[in-house]
Structures are given as structure tokens and as C-alpha cells.
Symmetry: C2
Subunit: 373 residues, 2 copies
């Protein structure tokens, strides 16, 4: 059984296309991972998520530890069985959500105390507990537990947080390795921090490489710094990470963010945008996003995106989706989400093919020119 094997089939500039072989399936890269926060990719049956082209989904440690609870998921046979998804699952560490969603009580060297946003109960996450939760869920790709500080933090705070995250990365790796059978089938990724500072990013990368991980994430971006700043950071940060391991840009992003990041050597992405937008009436198309709530679609008999082969575009007109969205109908969220997930997966397929054919620059220029109008 293959635990984790990343192979690069072709490169094109800094970009690469290839595959990650794991026990539960192969992940084609560059890959987009739909987000399944609470053990469901919202408004989608798992079989339809797979049909969209997704090889792997993301589960949220923070949400799942609070409800239904990691021990309960383990008792029920793990997250894959629980939610009916038999491909690989990457779980985040909970570090980001605990900062953004919960009421923080205390951050110490040991870890983070917080109150649940659901019911106010007190909980603790540390590197050891985060890895334990991810093991209980049965995660295929475990993320190291890290500390995120606001982009408005001082340089000193950012250095301190990065250095603590590296100590936590080491504790995460050690706890992962203690995991017996799970460590023999799962992989663990470290997360580079250091905000927009090249020296901090370099120090972070060196610390992670010293510990050793199966893959490396670029963390702390897409948190409000803007696209130009994010891409500027990728311009130096990506190359600091090992070329022979997957590089994962967490929480990104808009379609044009993804294209720009692939050009810069990123292999994996996750984002709530296609699913969340699907529930608020925003559809992604090659000509840019459409707000289906807009009255101009009320009698529009085109599919959301005429060239799209997704089940929504194959059967329904914009006028109908507009009606559903305006009426707050669940089917509107279902159809929009499905289209958006197909759009993202078609984009990844296009990127993979362009890299394989050595024409990524032209593909990216064409895509961005059309998408940004």
C-alpha cells in the first residue's frame, strides 16, 4: 500500500503537474479540495462531489471536534464512513478556525484554550490534541497545528508567532509519529508562516525542512492582505519549500488567485468560495462571476455557462436558477454549488493539461484576460 508518493509528470516554469498516490486514491495536481466543514460539502451528495472531479476534500478539525466530536466520529468508524466519502481527506489543524470563530480564552506555549462558538463550552487545542483529533477523524493528510496572528500584528509579534508555530510543528510531527497505524497510512504537512516577510518565511521553511514533512503548506495568506501582496509573497516563499514535495496554499481562493498561484509553483488549494458562493447566488464562469440574483437573468434561457458540461448547465436555464435563488429554495443552493464545483475542477484540469503541454503561460493569459474581462 502506498502511504504517500508525489510524482511530477511535467513542469512548466515554476509550475508542475503530477499526482499524489495515497491508500484511498490518487490526487491529481494541481488539485482543488472542496471544503466539507461539518462532514458535508454543503448542499452536495458525496457522489456528486466526486463526479465534479474532486479527488480529495477538506474537513475542519475545529468544527468536527465540537460537533459531532472526534471521539464520536472515531467510534462510528471514522470520517470517511460517517460522511460517505471514500477518497482521501485532508484535515486542517483547527488553528485558523480557533482564532477566527471561537472566543479565545488563552494562548500559551502549551496551546490554545477557547470557548465553542456553538454552545460556549470550553475546549483546548494543542499540537498534540490537534493531531489526536485528526487521527480520530481518520484524516489522510494531517496538518501541523500552528498559530495565526493578524496581518496587522507588529513584526515582533509575527516573528514570535512564526517561531512558536515551528515549535508546534515539531510537536505535531512527534505526536503524528506516535500515532501507530495511522502514521503508517496517513501523511503530515507542515505549514510555513512568516506573514509577508521573506526572512521569516525563509526561517520558517528551514525549520520545517529540518523537521521533515510529506508536504508543505503556505499559511497565513489570503487573510486580507490583497491579491498583489499575496502573489508578491508567493514570488519568494514557494521556492523556499522543497521542490519534490507538494506545496499547498491554504484557503485560496478566487479562480484568478489559483491560476496565479499555480504559475508560481503551488500544487494544492482549498477554499469555501465555490460552495459558499453557490448558496448566495454567485456563479463562476470563464467570463467572470455572475450574480444570479440579478433581475437581468429573470428571463435568460441560457445555461449558467453555455460551455459547461455540469449537470446544472446540462438541464437548467439561468431564469430558473434565478427564480430558485430569489425564492430561497434549497434546490438553488444545490444547483449553484454543483456548477461552481465543476467550474473549479474544470479549471484545475485545464491547468494540469496546460502544464503538461508546456503552454501554461498562454493558458493563464487567456484565462485571466477573459475572466477579468
Amino acid at each position: 500500500m502506498t502511504r504517500f508518493a508525489f510524482s511530477i509528470a511535467a513542469t512548466n516554469g515554476a509550475a508542475r503537474t503530477g499526482a499524489i498516490a495515497m491508500a484511498r486514491g490518487t490526487i491529481r495536481t494541481p488539485a482543488f479540495m472542496p471544503v466539507g466543514t461539518a462532514a458535508t460539502v454543503k448542499a452536495m451528495k458525496p457522489g456528486d462531489v466526486a463526479a465534479s472531479g474532486a479527488d480529495i476534500i477538506l474537513g475542519n478539525t475545529y468544527h468536527l471536534m465540537l460537533r459531532p466530536g472526534a471521539e464520536r466520529v472515531a467510534k462510528l468508524g471514522g470520517l470517511h464512513r460517517f460522511m460517505g466519502w471514500d477518497g482521501p481527506i485532508l484535515t486542517d489543524s483547527g488553528g485558523y478556525q480557533v482564532m477566527s470563530l471561537s472566543e479565545l480564552i488563552k494562548v500559551t506555549e502549551e496551546g490554545v484554550s477557547f470557548k465553542s462558538h456553538l454552545d460556549g463550552t470550553r475546549h483546548m487545542l494543542s499540537p498534540e490534541r490537534s493531531i489526536e483529533v485528526q487521527r480520530l477523524l481518520g484524516s489522510d493528510i494531517v496538518m501541523a497545528f500552528d498559530e495565526l496572528v493578524p496581518t496587522t500584528s507588529t513584526a515582533a509579534q509575527q516573528r514570535e508567532a512564526m517561531e512558536r508555530s515551528m515549535r508546534w510543528a515539531k510537536r505535531s510531527r512527534e505526536e503524528f509519529d506516535r500515532g501507530g497505524d495511522h502514521a503508517g497510512t496517513a501523511a503530515i504537512f507542515g505549514i510555513q508562516q512568516g506573514a509577508l516577510d521573506a526572512q521569516l518565511r525563509q526561517a520558517s521553511a528551514e525549520a520545517l525542512i529540518d523537521i521533515g514533512f510529506d508536504g508543505y503548506a503556505v499559511g497565513g495568506l489570503a487573510v486580507g492582505e490583497g491579491q498583489a501582496a499575496m502573489l508578491g509573497c508567493l514570488d519568494f516563499a514557494v521556492d523556499m519549500l522543497p521542490a519534490d514535495a507538494p506545496r499547498y496554499l491554504m484557503g485560496v481562493g478566487k479562480p484568478d488567485d489559483i491560476v496565479e498561484a499555480v504559475v508560481r509553483g503551488i500544487d494544492m488549494f482549498d477554499c469555501v468560495l465555490p460552495t459558499r458562493s453557490g448558496r448566495t447566488g454567485q456563479a463562476f464562469t470563464a467570463d467572470g462571476p455572475l450574480n444570479l440574483r440579478n433581475a437581468r437573468f429573470a428571463e435568460d434561457q441560457e445555461p449558467i455557462e453555455p460551455e459547461c458540461p455540469c449537470p446544472t448547465c446540462a438541464q437548467f436555464e439561468r431564469a430558473y436558477v434565478h427564480h430558485l435563488v430569489k425564492s430561497g429554495e434549497i434546490l438553488g443552493a444545490m444547483l449553484m454549488t454543483e456548477h461552481n464545483l465543476w467550474f473549479y475542477q474544470r479549471l484545475m484540469q485545464g491547468l494540469r493539461e496546460a502544464i503538461g503541454a508546456g503552454r501554461l503561460v498562454a493558458y493563464a493569459e487567456d484565462f485571466l484576460g477573459r475572466y477579468r474581462g
Copy 2:
């Protein structure tokens, strides 16, 4: 092309099983029609509604005339194309919803003025306008426009409303016949009124038969009178309607209501119960309803109903559905609704087979004994 042909394959006591052949498809009877209020059976794709065994769905004239508007649906090619359902659609007349949902302005011999519950705009429904709206929608089975009065009305008020409904039934039939092509492909049903009074029901039935309809509905029941009173009314009301036409009990009902009504000779049903319950966490099973919100299901690894062949029960455990319902996840509504629609259609199939085999009494006794526990 067959416009409307009802054939009875077998009878068993007062019950019958057979089929209604129409241009868009054949409706096996006794039939349950899922409700697609706003051009969607809530939380279901149309293909999955068909896969549950539904031959026909119901659309609501009141909701559709307000949003997206009947003229707009007609312009877009009709309700079937709009919502992606190519089987028969029965539309109600709007009479019930205008009384129960809107702010009434005035009821006259001409019709009903009301304010939309959506935006307060003023509208009018009359027999002529109701039939016109149903024609614009492209309805396959059009319902006559009637007046519904509360069950707490006086005997005089009930007589008056019934008599007016019969005058409106005649105007509905006349408007339907003026409908040119649509009258050549669609059918029209009259609605018996008269509350729980046998003499009023008899007078209503005679008036409808005198006008002549393709099918006959029993109206004004399941509005709070209780199951015993409803069944008591069916004991005399059904037999007043022609035996060679379909009999439709509007807005019914719970699974045990349906079994009892089929025993009394009813052929068609519609109800929001399976879909609405699916969105609030109630699942139907042969052993009675289950509230999946209940904490006792949190670690229950059985399917909702172990003997059920529906996609939900084939793939998911109660513990997962419980988690989704408790978390307010859209997928919870999707999976529960699908199970409930399958349950209703399996019940109808069981009833049809039992009538065909001449063992309806035993089937009904078994079902009711188990369902009512």
C-alpha cells in the same frame, strides 16, 4: 395522443388500482403527488423525484402566479421546461392558498382580491383567471377554482360557499374549454365541497357531475377536522363521485390517512408532509415516524429504515443524518426528503399491489398496526 384515459385494472372493496394515461406519461393509481410549490419539489432534483417513483407532481398556482409569474413561465416555455420535469403536472386552483396565505381583501361572486404574502402587491383570482394561470403554466391536470371556508363556519356559510364553488366550477369548466390547444391536451377536475355535511356533499357531487369533469376531487378536508371526522366524511362522500373517473383527496396526508382513504376508494393524493418533514428532521418509516433530531440517534449506525432501498438508506447511517439535521446542513434536508418521498411512493406501490392481489384489507391492517405501533 391520449388526452386523458383512466383505466381500472382491479378493484378490492371500494378501492381500485389502475392508471391514468396522459400525453406526458402514465400515472399509476392510487398515486401520491409530491408538492412542487414554487416550481421545485423542495431540496430535490427533478430526476431524483422521478427516481423515487413519482409519476406526477403538483404545482401551486398561487405561488407561481406571484413568483416568477404565470406569463413569465409561459414565455419561458411552460412549467415543465422551466423546472425540468417532463411528466404530468397537476396544478391546484390557488383557492386554498389565497385563503390561508394571503391577506384577503374581498370575496365577491366575481372572485377573490388579495395581497401577496411576498410583497403586498394586489392581485385577483377568479375562476377565469385561475384557469388562465394554469393554462399559462402548461398544467396537465387543471383544478377548478373554489372557495374554502373555515370548518368553524356556520351551516349556512358552508352551504353558501359550496353553492358558490359550484357556480365557479361551471365557470372554470367553461374557461377551460375556451382554452384551445391546451383544452385538447390537458384535463380538468372538479372539487366537491360541503364540509362534513352529507346533504351538501351530495348536492355538490350532483352539480359537478352535471357540469362534467375528467376527475373529481374531495375538497375541504384535512383542514383541522381530525382523522376520524375526515374518514367519516369519506365514508359517504366518495361514493357520490363517478366510479369511472379518478377521485383525488386534496392535501392528504399522513401515511395512515392515505391507507384509510385508499380503502374508501380514493385514487390520488398530494401533501407537503414528506417534503416539509424532511426539512424538519422527521423521517417516515413502516414503524412510524422518527424524529432524527433526537439524541438517541447520535450513535445509531442503522439506516433511517433498514428495509428501505432509497439512496439515503443505501449509503448513510442515522448518526450521520442526525448530525446533519442538528447542524442545520442542507444535505440533511436533501437526504431526509429523498427518504420520505421514497417511503410515500413505496407505500403507494404496496397499496397498488395489494389491491391487484385482492388483499388490501390484510395489507392495510398490517400496515396500520405496525405504523401506529
